[in-house]
């Protein structure tokens, strides 16, 4: 059974590749069957042929100029980056020094005061929490991941008719896109996080560019990609996990 749309979708790739479909028995037969599809093929082929005649020839002198300017930009970029790396290492020195001072002060204080009251030991607070910083990320990136997880969960629930929710999602996506390059740079030492953010970036962009006319189809595609890439789980996995620790009580009486 000939289905025009399905057939046209199937042959489009071959048309762009400028293959002669009349020479392919399978396609030729269907082209003979349907005059509308035959017309689609002829017109599309003509359009692709015209596109391909466009002469983009650029002289070697122009290429040399383009290459030279590109080279200059890369070299200029490389200089500050090297310097930045060195200064980044140096930046840690005062932080380490401050941490060492803090440890020393606490150590001295502990030596001066007994750790446990041998007469009566206070029961530790019932809700002690343990924060597992599984991956070394800065607090801003952790916040970003939390916000991303929230947005993704909202998007998974969204329906194309929820105009307000769509507008909110577009707005949040736009806001996050502004910050995303910095977040990628901040997480550069943790490649899986960068990968997750890059995949997330494509989702954000599609959200921001959502067109009301094709929202139904686009939302379904976005939701399927979120699911397929396990993005929500990824965003959660890279956040520090907080667990309640059962307190252990000591009684020395």
């Amino acid at each position: 059974m000939h289905q025009c749309e399905e057939f046209r979708e199937r042959i489009t790739e071959h048309i762009i590749d400028r293959e002669d479909l009349a020479a392919t028995p399978e396609f030729h037969h269907e082209l003979l069957l349907c005059s509308a599809c035959s017309e689609f093929y002829a017109e599309s082929r003509e359009m692709i042929d015209a596109l391909s005649t466009v002469d983009l020839s650029i002289s070697e002198r122009q290429w040399d100029g383009i290459e030279h300017r590109l080279r200059m930009r890369i070299v200029n970029e490389a200089g500050p980056r090297r310097h930045h790396k060195a200064t980044r290492t140096l930046r840690w020195i005062p932080i380490f020094a401050a941490a060492a001072m803090l440890v020393l002060t606490i150590g001295l204080y502990r030596l001066a005061t007994p750790l446990v009251n041998t007469q009566r030991v206070a029961v530790p607070a019932p809700q002690t929490v343990y924060v597992d910083h599984g991956v070394p990320l800065d607090p801003v990136t952790v916040d970003f991941l939390e916000e991303s997880e929230l947005l993704l969960r909202n998007v998974m629930k969204i329906r194309p008719t929820d105009v307000d929710d769509l507008a909110d999602a577009k707005q949040v996506a736009g806001g996050q896109l502004v910050d995303i390059a910095q977040r990628k740079e901040a997480a550069a030492d943790v490649p899986p996080v960068v990968d997750a953010i890059e995949t997330y970036e494509t989702i954000l962009r599609d959200l921001r560019n959502l067109d009301e006319r094709s929202a139904a189809e686009d939302i379904a595609d976005i939701q399927s990609r979120i699911r397929k890439n396990g993005l929500i789980a990824n965003m959660k996995a890279f956040q520090p996990s907080v667990t309640t620790v059962t307190p252990v009580s000591f009684d020395f009486r």
């Binding site: 596109l51 002289s59 590109l70 930009r73 490389a78 890439n229």
Partner: protein, 220 residues
């Protein structure tokens, strides 16, 4: 223009593009990548030079003018340079670069795309004029002027396509990438790529068919 002439142009353009992309062997490319990952700027520049021409031509059709095309090419290469440490060889360098290109191109759109920013219409028109002014000043043959006119029509047609769809189409048409490669680079499914290509071709066909029919009616 006769069909054999057109076909010979396709073949020559395809050959040129292949040649541009294959100026260094895969082994040489792997060595350059390894060196670039250790911070060798010269090695990265050699890698960039190997891919910049096809990238520039794609950017030119995508943006419609030389200024933005050069800007986009530089942006892609700078982003690639910043991320080269993260390249793990799971895919070819070209595929990896394509992914960076997609991100850079689509992020760049806010600055230059007339569809995304209607208030920039005048600027974009100036940019288009710059393209053709550039074409006229660099080449003087009649054939090139004709080509410039087709180019104008083509770019105007492409402008009517949303940027993500436009990019998918150009990756297929200009770069000759497979639907699977495009899907990987765009982070979407092969089915979506095929559907999108159909939508774009159908849209361009309708725009293209109308003036052609008018020309035919005029001749008759």
């Amino acid at each position: 223009m006769t069909m054999p002439t057109v076909m010979s142009q396709f073949v020559s353009m395809a050959n040129v593009l292949t040649e541009l992309r294959m100026r260094i062997s895969p082994a040489e490319e792997a060595e350059l990548i390894a060196r670039a990952q250790t911070g060798d700027v010269e090695a990265f520049c050699a890698l960039a030079a190997n891919h910049q021409r096809s990238l520039y031509l794609l950017a030119l059709k995508y943006s419609g003018n030389h200024h933005d095309a050069e800007d986009l090419t530089q942006e892609v290469m700078l982003n690639a340079y910043k991320a080269i440490q993260q390249f793990r060889g799971m895919s070819s360098f070209h595929t990896w670069l394509a992914r960076i290109m997609v991100n850079s191109f689509l992020n760049h759109k806010r600055k230059s795309d007339p569809l995304a920013a209607p208030h920039r219409q005048d600027t974009t028109e100036e940019a288009f004029e710059a393209t053709f002014y550039s074409a006229r000043t660099h080449h003087h043959s009649e054939g090139t002027v004709h080509s410039g006119l087709i180019m104008q029509q083509v770019i105007e047609l492409l402008r009517s396509v949303p940027e993500r769809q436009r990019l998918m189409f150009l990756m297929k048409h200009q770069e000759g990438m497979t639907c699977e490669e495009i899907a990987r680079a765009m982070g979407t499914s092969v089915g979506t790529v095929k559907k999108t290509l159909f939508r774009v071709v159908d849209r361009l066909r309708q725009h293209f068919a109308a003036p052609a029919a008018a020309r035919a009616a005029g001749k008759g």
